[in-house]
Each structure stands twice: as C-alpha cells, then as structure tokens.
Symmetry: C2
C-alpha cells in the first residue's frame, strides 16, 4: 500500500478504501479528531481515532506539528465542509513535537513573529497558501512563455559592471577582507580577485537578455536580482526574482500587448487551478480589511479585483496625457500632492494611485516618459524629449511592470551613453548588437514578488518569499 | 498581415500564402537565395529574390547577420531538404551587418573564439541548438515536478553561512573595500555590513529546501549556486544552476526512483519535442568523434546513448560492492588506477568511469558511502560506518546527481555536527526541523549544466550556459 497525498485523497477517495496518509498534526480535538495536513493542499484530512482502543500514551503524543503516519479506511463524513474522513486503524508517531516548546501555538501569531520563525511558518494556512500560489505563478510564467515559443535564458548573476545604473550593488569578492591587495595608487587591486576584476550582483538581466532576443528571437529570464538599497518598506527586498522577456521585431505596442496578456494569463491560471487557496486568501484579506480605516479599504474583495483586472483592458495613456489629467485633478488644485505636478517629474506613488485608483479605476499603462528620468537604452522619440518607455501601474501595488522599446540605432545609443557617462569599454558587446543586424526590439521586467503580493493580497513583501533578505537581515 | 515565425511557417505554410518574415541572414547565394533564420528553429527559410527586379544597392546589403524583413508568397521548393520556400515581393534591410567587420564569418570558428563573442554566438547553429535544448530541459524540469504536485521554492542566494562546507564561497558585501570598519581585535566588523553579518553566495539550497519539505511535503529548487574554486576544467563553472528536490516521507529507495524517473523524463522530453535540434547535434557529435583517438570515442552516437539511458534501468549497488568490483578489476590488478582502491577512498573519475563505461555499461547509482567522505546531514546507517547517500554516475559525465536520505534524528544530527565542528548557532533552525515533527525525508541535487552537456553532447560546460563565469572571467 503506497502513501496517498491528502489532496488526492480528498478529491477522489471513496468510502471503504484503505489508505496510508502521512503528515503533520494541525489540531487534535476531543481526543478523537486529528486534523492532518501534508502540504499538498490547504485542506486538512480529518482522521478519527477510536480512543478507547488506542494506548493513551500514544494519543498523548498527538500534538500540534507532530509528524504522524496513519493507516485507515475512508468513510463519509458527518462533519460539515468535508466529504470524507478517515477511520484510523493504525497510528504511528514519526516525530514528536513538544507542545510547550513548539513556537507556533494554535493561535493567531503576528506576521512578524512568523518571519522570525521562517523555518516553521509554511506550516501555517496563510504562508503555505502563499507558497503554493508562488509556485503556481512561477509555473504559469514558464508555461506562458514556452507555449508562445519563447526560450528561457539564464543571464549571469555575477557581473562585471553596473552599467544600467539601476541602483546600488553588492560586491562579490574572494579577496582578503582585512588586507586586500592594492595597486600603486592605493586602490584595491581587483586584478587579483577571483574574476580578475571588480564584480557585483546583477541588478537586471535585461542587457544580456537582449543578446538572446537578437539571435533567438524571443527569450525571457527568470532569476534573482539584487539591490543594496537601505529600504525598509513593505515593498522592497535586497534579493528578489525578476522576469524579463526580450523580443526582436516587437515595437512598444507589441510589448504592451504581450505584458497585458501575460499578467491576465498568470491571474487566470491561479484562479482556475488554485481555487481553494484563493478562497482562503480571499477570506483572509476580507478579515484584514476590517482592521483598516474606512478610506484605506479596497472597494473590491481580493478575488473580485483579480477578476476585474482579467476582464478589463488596461488603460493606455502617454506620460504627457497623465500629467494633464493630474494637473486638472482635485488633489492638484487643492495642493494635496506632496510633489507638485509638472511635466518632467518622476511620478510618485501619490500620483500613480490617483490615476489608477481614483481616475481610471483600473490598471494603467503610461508610455513615452521624459528621457531624462529613464534609462539610456530606451528608444528615443522624434520629439527629442521622450522615450518609448512603458510602465504598468496596478491598484495597491503601483508599478508592477517597467519596459520599453530599446534604442536600435547605433549612433543614438552611443550618443546617449556618452551623455550619461556610460563607458563603451564595458558595453562594447551591447553596442555590437546595434552594429551587426540591429532591429526594432522591446522588453520589460516584472518583479515576481510584486505579482505574488497582488494575487495573494499579502501586505508585506517579506511574506511572499520564503527567506527574505533585507537590511541587517540574512537569517536562515 | 502579422509576422509569422519561421518554425511555424516551415511546419504549416501552404503554397500561395502571403506572409511577412523577419530574421537574420545566414547566407546569400547566387544573388538569389537568402537563408533566413529567426531563432525559432534551427532550420532556415529559403527566400528567393528576383535579382533582376531588385535594386542592386539593396541586394548588396544582404550580408551575413544583417536583419531583414521580407514579404513574399509561399511556394513549393525544388531545393532538397525543404518543403517550401518564399518568393520575395518586398525586401527591407532592418539593420546592416558590415561583412568585413562582422566577427563570425561564414566558416567554422573554434569554440574558444565563439566564447569570446558570447554576444553573437547564439547566431550559430550549434550554440542556438544548445540554448534551445537548455530551455527545453529547464521547462521539462518544471513540468515534471509540477505534474507530480511538487512546489517550486526559491531558496536564498545570499546566505549567512557556509554551513554545508561544500566548497569555497564568494563574499557579498557593501563595506568600503579599502578601509572596512574593524573590530577592536582588528577583524572586519561585519555588523556594519549591509546584512549586519558576514554573508556569501549560496553553494546549495538544500538545507532551506528541507524547510519546504517538512511543511509543504514535496518541493524543489532551481536556481543559481556558486563555488569559488580555482578549477579551469571543461566540467566546472563558478556560477551554475542546480535543481534540488526535497521530499518528506521519502526513503532512499523512493529518492532513487524519483531521480531515475526524472532524468528519463527530461531526456525523453527533449527527444520528443526537439527532434531537429537533436538531429543536428547528433551529426555534430559524430563529426567531433572523428577527430578523437579511437579509444576515447563513444561506443554509441549521441541520440543512441540518450535512448539507451532512457530504455535501461540504472544499476544500483552499494559503495562496498563497488569497491569489491574495483578490487577485482583488471586496472586494479595491473596497478593502472592512480589512486589505489580500498574501502574508504573517495571514488575518483577513473574508478567511476570503469564502473559505468567498462563494467556495467550503463548509468550506475552507488549508495551507502562511508560517512567520513560525505556531508553531516546524511542519515547514518546502523553499521556506524556508512550513510544513506546515493550518487548517480553517467557515462562521460561522471556524477550527475548526488543525494541522500537526510538524518531525521535530532540527537544523531546534533552529534554529527559537533564531530564536524558545525556551529549549532548557525543551524538552530535546521535542527528545529528534527525537534518539531521530524520525519524520514530525502532529496538530491542535479547540476543543470551537467545534464545539458550530456543531452547536447557538448564537450565543454562553458558552451552550455550563455555567459560562463570562471576564474578570471566575468565578461558580458
């Protein structure tokens, strides 16, 4: 007799069937009802023991989070919310869990306390549901791109330059930390370092992904990226996962179409394939809402707003139009924005939220930003002022995707790099892509944790990745 | 009219159909036949131009690796090896490629030269085929585990300890490299570093994956890992990708069954879904063989040996039995092994190759190694000498998978950590897994590049990852 997973048993178990189930005790009520969970589903199996015919010392070891193995016969359940239960014939304790020492008592713990116990928190309903969704979304990403003929590309984690200038980086080194070798000028002599030069952790795989696009046609990355920013917020991690598709022969319209289609596919995939976890998280989000002040509450429930995103076209407007709307808005006229609105500003969270949550009440794609607030590699428009950038803004989350059509002109790219002091010696290969068979191409980046947050309704990004890395924290 | 990808066009294009194709010029023969490739397939589309009715200055720009867009009508092809071709009506040069400056001339380049041009090498047949296979294998990994109900888990890249002791590590830091803050004893004061302690790049996600197994049941990782070893070989990278499944309630037999099933699934997936790339690589491997001395040649062709692996059970023997076989072998008796065989030695490549390639002539799984040559976390056998380890050895590649049943006993694990000087203060959370509901569990690691090498037949691991990281090399 092979072990059956609880998910399978609950879905297809038939009364009279004899099975082995293994898992961890969630609760043990009335010396009779053991709720067992094995991680395969959010639902527990109810295992019913005949306590009069079981050794008392064995039953005493059935405590929260003890690992057990039970052999039993499936029976129809009288309990509500469950079709079947298990009449236990044999019970074995695989691993005890001392009820007073076990950190996660059967009560509500703060998310912060759970973070300190990141090695045990996936034994809770909330975190295990989030991790299953994280898996679901990751798989859906691969499925979406594979079905479209994109190729997954592993871009390097250790890189020789922070050419993109996307943020502060972590240095990677094997040099003696106390007495590193020095050059005659007293600088660290990185020629003696492992890679023979100064290296750091990647902030984006985009530039390398463009190599893939300009040969394989359509590629995507899905890997870890790093920012050494001292941001202690509910939206920032020092280590996070990014998805970066890059496509030859795509203009900005094609790029936006793909991004919108992808996001909708991801959300639909989860709604269709993980209804039980979504139902649980929907209720959880509704409970959370009750503790918030009225004006901070969502107008819609979690699942409702996911369906809303799937069912509606994203609004597409230019940056210039967005500024116009903001200039004509009440908060602007009443001087309620902290950063006053004028053409050229980098839109802040307050502006984005107004556009998305108040004005359009749906996801918004803003295009054609001023070139001075965007990266060097974006395609310059003929107006000399703007670039073919696009940011997708989501309610509650803000920017979830940032992308652009890339500058394909060698001379324009070269000039922009010079203006922005980006050394050609580091990006000779990137320039080469414009020298040998350049073509229009586009791409974007999706912060994976942002979409997991949006879909799961979790307020803090530290609760959607198993072991978050943040300033002063690299535990586990 | 939307662009059609060449893979789709070659598979389903019908004579008379009018299409747009975009891609890069591979060759241009007789001022008439353009071979276009867009990365979607190894096969080129033959586009036929009517040179008498095309401007000569336009045709002169149809050079190797120029990006072009053509509108044309599908026609049956007279050429051999192709069902259809395209009669060009409009030709547009999207991006020129100066024929004398373009580094990859239409001739055979050394793999080393291609590595120096890693930004252009996926425009070659060999490397593009390898990258498509790499994608195929990665997707197959996710599909295999997803279909089985495993959850993908992102374990941390930056970690606070090298507890596994699996090798030399890279330090991750934001401290001033020249004058780092120091403690009173003159050591670097890592309390002031970004994460508040000394951190490095992960060598394995296994220990954190066990957290997943002991709550979610069955999980796997697929992410980058790092070794700061000064190994300049055809089998080592400083940055490589690993797949590490961890499963609760699996013993070593279950673990071996899963690993064998997975490897066979991956190979089958590629053979079934990427026949054209495999056919190309099969021929390429056969050509390579001809340049090797007779005794170094494979007995079977590439595809033949992949099918052989799929069709045969892997041999399963204990380490003790392996030593016996080696002691009775000709090379041992003739003193041909560099490292003499005796119980307790770490098997070297010479021993492994004898067992796999000469004795059993198929993949071999060796189990129950001496505990002194294996990691602290492996389950101890009752003999007091061996642990429940398993290594899978492949012809040509050597160890492709290493795994074990994990030690589930708190006291045995604690004792082994003490013996091996592994501080409990760093792995308190790992010990906790044995304290609160421990259970038998197992897992293994597959070096992703090793399987890509085996399936593609590439001799050097640097040619199966887009941007290899090796000692003194972090270019691109």
């Amino acid at each position: 007799m092979r072990r059956i997973k609880i998910k399978e048993l609950l879905a297809s178990g038939e009364p009279g069937q004899k099975v082995i189930v293994k898992g961890w005790v969630r609760t043990f009520r009335s010396n009779r009802f053991i709720a067992i969970n094995d991680g395969s589903t959010i639902n527990n199996l109810q295992a019913v023991v005949d306590f009069e015919n079981m050794p008392e010392e064995l039953l005493r070891r059935v405590t929260t989070s003890a690992a057990i193995s039970v052999v039993g016969v499936v029976a129809e359940s009288m309990g509500k919310g469950q079709r079947i239960e298990l009449q236990v014939e044999q019970l074995e304790i695989l691993g005890d869990s001392h009820p007073e020492e076990y950190p996660l008592q059967p009560k509500k713990h703060s998310m912060e306390f759970l973070r300190e116990n990141a090695h045990l928190r996936p034994r809770t309903n909330t975190i295990s549901a989030v991790y299953r969704l994280r898996h679901a979304l990751a798989f859906a990403v691969h499925k979406f791109f594979n079905d479209k003929g994109f190729y997954y590309m592993h871009t390097p984690i250790v890189t020789g330059s922070d050419a993109e200038g996307a943020g502060e980086t972590f240095r990677v080194t094997t040099l003696d930390p106390v007495n590193p070798p020095k050059t005659e000028e007293g600088k660290v002599n990185y020629a003696e370092d492992f890679f023979g030069k100064e290296t750091n952790l990647t902030v984006s795989g985009q530039l390398e992904a463009e190599v893939g696009a300009m040969s394989m046609g359509e590629v995507y990355t899905f890997g870890p990226t790093f920012r050494a920013e001292n941001s202690n917020t509910t939206r920032h991690l020092a280590e996070f996962w990014m998805i970066e598709p890059e496509m030859a022969f795509y203009d900005l319209e094609d790029n936006m179409d793909l991004a919108e289609e992808m996001v909708k596919f991801l959300i639909n995939y989860v709604l269709e394939n993980y209804p039980e976890d979504m139902e649980f998280l929907d209720k959880r989000a509704a409970d959370e809402e009750k503790s918030k002040p009225q004006k901070e509450r969502w107008e819609m429930g979690l699942v409702e707003r996911l369906k809303f995103v799937v069912d509606n076209s994203f609004e597409r407007i230019t940056y210039t139009k967005a500024i116009e709307i903001l200039e004509n808005s009440k908060p602007h006229k009443k001087k309620q924005f902290k950063v006053p609105v004028e053409w050229g500003i980098d839109l802040g969270s307050e502006h984005e939220r107004f556009l998305v949550e108040k004005h359009f009440k749906k996801p918004v794609i803003i295009t054609d930003y001023p070139k001075d607030i965007k990266a060097f590699y974006m395609k310059q428009n003929d107006d000399g002022k703007t670039v073919r950038a696009m940011d997708i803004l989501f309610p509650g989350i803000g920017e979830i995707i940032g992308g652009a059509q890339r500058e394909e002109s060698f001379s324009k790219l070269q000039q922009r790099m010079a203006e922005m002091d980006i050394p050609e010696s580091e990006l000779w290969w990137y320039l080469d892509l414009r020298k040998f068979g350049t073509a229009p191409h586009s791409g974007y980046g999706l912060g994976f944790e942002r979409i997991v947050q949006f879909v799961s309704g979790m307020g803090n990004i530290r609760d959607v990745i198993p072991f978050p890395r943040t300033p002063k924290n690299a535990e586990f």
